[in-house]
């Protein structure tokens, strides 16, 4: 009985040994690919960081209101972009490494993920660009509305920001192929609702401005022109 047990144990051990021996080249190949990906990620991260510094990305994004002012312990936009680029390269390298194994499960999953990676990347970029653009639009609309004397300036700015964000999110999700019909309907409802809200806000907030403009351009019939020119006739320079 002890002989039989020993024989089975050795056979099992040999089978494990053979399996490991069969996996080892693939494992080594995967490690090599991941190692190369790590090195490439470090390189890409440095290149992206340097390019961002050369383009003064942090300053430009802060000037446009996309990024908040610098603060201790808070990573700047160029740091985040470089980190994102590095992690993207590393993730793609890991997926490429997984595809080395010839098991149907791992190679199938990695192949599908690799095929999906460009969509995910573009979706992320769309979302990030939309988020940045939404802040630029918010500030521009806010300043413009204040200069027009609209009392609901902040609401208008916020509404404009959410409009851009929603459009960007809908585009990103459509690119990712997630819930396309639901997203289209939800986007339509949300977008329409915000546009209606903004239209009401402008209509109610700007009625005085519109009245002034109409009075200036279409004076009531029979009314004599003002004795003194008013502010609309003033050249500020």
């Amino acid at each position: 009985m002890w002989d039989e047990t020993g024989r089975i144990f050795i056979a099992a051990f040999r089978r494990t040994e053979e399996a490991i021996a069969g996996l080892l080249p693939g494992l080594l190949a995967m490690l090599a690919i991941v190692l190369a990906a790590v090195l490439l990620a470090i390189l890409v991260r440095r290149i992206v960081r340097r390019a961002c510094e050369r383009l003064e990305l942090d300053r430009r994004l802060r000037a446009w209101g996309v990024a908040p002012p610098p603060a201790e312990g808070r990573a700047g936009p160029s740091h985040l972009v470089a980190r994102f680029a590095g992690w993207t390269v590393l993730a793609i390298g890991f997926l490429a490494g997984l595809s080395v194994f010839e098991t149907s499960t791992s190679s199938g999953v990695s192949a599908r993920l690799l095929a999906y990676a460009p969509h995910a990347l573009i979706g992320t970029v769309l979302l990030a660009a939309g988020a940045g653009l939404s802040r630029v639009v918010e500030r521009s609309v806010l300043i413009g509305a204040v200069n027009m004397g609209l009392q609901s300036a902040r609401l208008l700015g916020l509404g404009a920001r959410w409009l851009v964000l929603i459009v960007a999110t809908a585009m990103a999700l459509e690119h990712l192929g997630l819930g396309s019909t639901t997203m289209t309907v939800a986007f339509g409802i949300l977008f329409g609702g915000i546009v209606l809200t903004l239209a009401l806000a402008v209509g109610l907030g700007a009625k005085d401005a519109v009245a002034r403009s109409l009075e200036r351009h279409l004076p009531p019939a029979g009314e004599p022109p003002p004795a003194r020119p008013d502010e609309h006739d003033v050249h500020h320079l």
């Binding site: 000037a63 521009s140 200069n147 320079l237």
Partner: protein, 404 residues
């Protein structure tokens, strides 16, 4: 300018008559040419208009197929002031003056003028007869007109460059050939074509160079053809040019001494009578709205103490920004423009409620004291800017880590 240069410049006095395309510019140029011939007898005069392509100058007789009176000409309205480089006819005028060896050259607005005033003689005589190199025009206006010049352009350029030009962005100008040649050879035409040739660029070059400059009162300002702009648009257009010139000449103006008067020709002063009515209450509400909504943007530009002072001014009755506070705000915006803390267009537009807040107090004072008190008021604004000079220089020199 060396006398030898003027003697070798044996060509005609060159005038560029500038205005909108639909203003009968060629006919106006013919009138201006006749006026100059009568004022400077024995001298040849050529009045040109800008060609159809917007580049190069065409003698008025050749414009519109040689028929004076045909509408064909410039694309900008110099009277509006704050002319950006690419739209300015200055480059074409300098090249044409060099080609014709003109002893004097001038940019002249194409709008009709009040009769009986020797405005062209006042503009050209300092160059032709007094041997000056640059004549900056000044106009008699009601104090309520040109408030941006009163509030920012005049006192800021006076404080920075140390010369007291009343209306630096007048649009018109007269130049000597030596100054014209120096401008023509300036590398800014290649390095910074967006700003080279603008009226602020021209004035800043004259203020920082070795040339002899003066100002001449030309009578009432001709009316601009275009409708007045919104204050925010004028701020972006004109103040962007002025701030850009502060950046360009920073090493120079930081060493400038206290302001000195400039030789002045002609009778100055304000136009009497009722000027435009400025709605002080509406301007005050604009400041209050800005104070409520634009705190985030102003927080990137102004120090907490300045913001607190603005909040107090907006809550006071009557609402008004006093001159020292206003001067500090403008200096801080100039530094923020240089440090690119906020995108320039957004930055300058966000100054609008503050400008209107200052204008609210100015309008009330005009109503109270009338034209008689305006001169003293301008003196007070200039003194307030002079008091902020050290603040401006100190903040300008350490722009890194711009944290107000």
């Amino acid at each position: 300018m060396p006398d030898a240069d003027r003697q070798t410049a044996g060509g005609p006095i060159l005038l560029a008559v500038v205005g909108s395309a639909s203003a009968g510019l060629a006919a106006r140029a013919a009138e201006v040419e006749a006026l100059a011939r009568a004022r400077f007898p024995g001298r040849e005069v050529v009045a040109c208009v800008t060609g159809d392509a917007g580049t190069g100058l065409v003698p008025h007789g050749e414009a519109g197929g040689g028929a004076p009176g045909t509408d064909r000409g410039g694309r900008v309205d110099t009277v509006a002031g704050g002319i950006p480089g690419p739209a300015s006819p200055l480059g074409a005028l300098l090249r044409e003056a060099d080609r014709r060896a003109a002893p004097a050259l001038a940019l002249v607005a194409g709008q009709p003028r009040e009769d009986g005033i020797d405005w062209l003689g006042a503009l050209l005589a300092p160059i032709v007869e007094e041997r000056f190199d640059f004549v900056c025009p000044a106009y008699r206006r009601h104090p309520a007109e040109g408030a941006l010049t009163t509030a920012i352009v005049h006192p800021l350029m006076r404080m920075a460059f140390g010369r007291d030009l009343r209306q630096p962005l007048g649009g018109e100008a007269a130049l000597s050939p030596a100054f014209a040649r120096r401008l023509l050879a300036d590398p800014d035409w290649r390095r910074d074509p967006v700003h080279a040739g603008s009226d602020a660029w021209l004035v800043a070059k004259a203020l920082t160079g070795e040339e002899r400059l003066c100002q001449a009162w030309l009578g009432p300002r001709p009316r601009a053809t275009a409708d007045p702009e919104e204050p925010s648009e004028t701020l972006v257009r004109a103040l962007g040019l002025v701030f850009r010139e502060l950046e360009r000449h920073a090493p120079r103006w930081q060493r400038a001494g206290p302001p000195r008067p400039v030789p002045t020709f002609g009778d100055g002063g304000f136009l009497p009578g009722d000027g435009p009515r400025l709605p002080a209450e509406r301007y005050a509400r604009a400041l209050q709205l800005g104070q409520r909504e634009l705190g985030e943007v102003w927080g990137l530009v102004l120090s907490p103490s300045t913001r607190l002072a603005i909040a107090r001014a907006a809550a006071a009755d009557p609402v008004a920004l006093d001159d020292p506070l206003w001067a500090r705000i403008v200096c801080d915006f100039a530094v923020a423009h240089m440090a690119r803390v906020v995108e320039p267009g957004q930055l300058l537009r966000s100054l609008t409620p503050l400008y209107l807040g200052w204008l609210a107090g100015f309008a009330r004072e005009l109503d109270r004291s009338g034209v008689a008190g305006a001169e003293a008021r301008i003196g007070a604004i200039c003194a307030a800017y002079d008091g902020e000079r050290h603040h401006l220089v100190a903040r300008w020199r350490w722009p890194d880590g711009f944290t107000p």
